[in-house]
């Protein structure tokens, strides 16, 4: 049941990305191109997603458990450190160069061609690199 809900959510997310136009890297890069031909579409996508979610979080806050029994995820510890800021800066740089963030890169994997496939494989590589760096730090700290 949980897997079925996850699959439905993933499918709806993918369809939303497709409908919103965020699967077009040129449109995403247009949003970042504040000094050129700026395209504000992404603000409508983000607004359309964030505003209803404010209400959803209010509903979630009134219940301790989700419908299938898992706890509602607690607010993460509010650590604002170099990892958060540095990581977000690296992510923003990659996002700008390709016009892809993780969701749209995955959603278009079926037809984005060699460039899209290379991006996703390299993204997985970057995630493995992160894991290797964490391990190395743990070894050095021990």
């Amino acid at each position: 049941m949980r897997a079925l809900v996850s699959a439905l959510s993933g499918a709806l997310f993918g369809l939303g990305l497709l409908v919103s136009g965020m699967t077009d890297t040129a449109r995403v890069q247009g949003w970042l191109d504040v000094a050129g031909h700026w395209d504000p579409t992404l603000a409508f996508v983000l607004g359309g997603a964030v505003l209803p979610m404010v209400l959803v979080w209010r509903i979630a806050a009134r219940r301790r458990l989700a419908l299938l029994g898992a706890p509602i995820p607690p607010m993460p510890e509010q650590v604002i450190d170099a990892r958060l800021i540095g990581g977000s800066a690296l992510f923003g740089a990659g996002w700008a160069l390709a016009g892809f963030c993780p969701g749209p890169a995955l959603a278009t994997l079926g037809w984005s061609g060699l460039g899209g496939t290379v991006f996703v494989l390299a993204m997985i590589g970057g995630m493995l690199l992160h894991q290797a760096l964490l391990r190395r730090r743990a070894v050095l700290a021990a």
Partner: protein, 146 residues
């Protein structure tokens, strides 16, 4: 009608955004999980999500499968993915490393975190937006590499 004056792309953006919210609401209220594309994939890649691997794979199957099936029927809209494979490898690597360091991307921090007023997510979103705009400016207008 006001609607007639809104560019079509903005209306589609809003409609797609609402669908993204519905997807995030479904995952949160039914499964008790946060919809974050980099977190869901990252947990599969580095093994930290081994405890709920099935859910993660199901989400990814839906995310990759339904758009692929939809465009097989409607025709594929342009992705405009760059053919510069070195650039795409560099960009993908930065996105993978950066989102794991920061624990989230546009969906996890931008949609789910900002909407619960998480300061971490608001800072992350402002930083990747600013970095994206600066790097785009440098790469497109100054260096001309994209």
């Amino acid at each position: 009608m006001l609607w007639n004056h809104i560019p079509q792309a903005w209306a589609y953006g809003l409609a797609g955004g609402l669908m993204i919210a519905a997807a995030a609401a479904l995952l949160l209220l039914v499964n008790g999980r946060i919809l974050g594309a980099s977190g869901i994939l990252g947990g599969v890649v580095d093994g930290t999500g081994a405890g709920n691997l099935g859910e993660r794979l199901a989400f990814l199957a839906g995310l990759i499968g339904l758009p692929a099936a939809a465009v097989a029927v409607t025709g594929a809209p342009a992705v405009h993915a760059s053919h510069d494979l070195v650039l795409m490898a560099l960009a993908g690597g930065l996105v993978g490393l950066g989102t794991r360091m920061a624990n989230g991307c546009t969906s996890g921090h931008g949609v789910c975190g900002m909407s619960r007023f998480s300061a971490r997510s608001i800072v992350a979103t402002l930083v990747y937006l600013a970095a994206g705009m600066v790097v785009f400016f440098l790469a497109r207008h100054l260096l001309g590499v994209i």
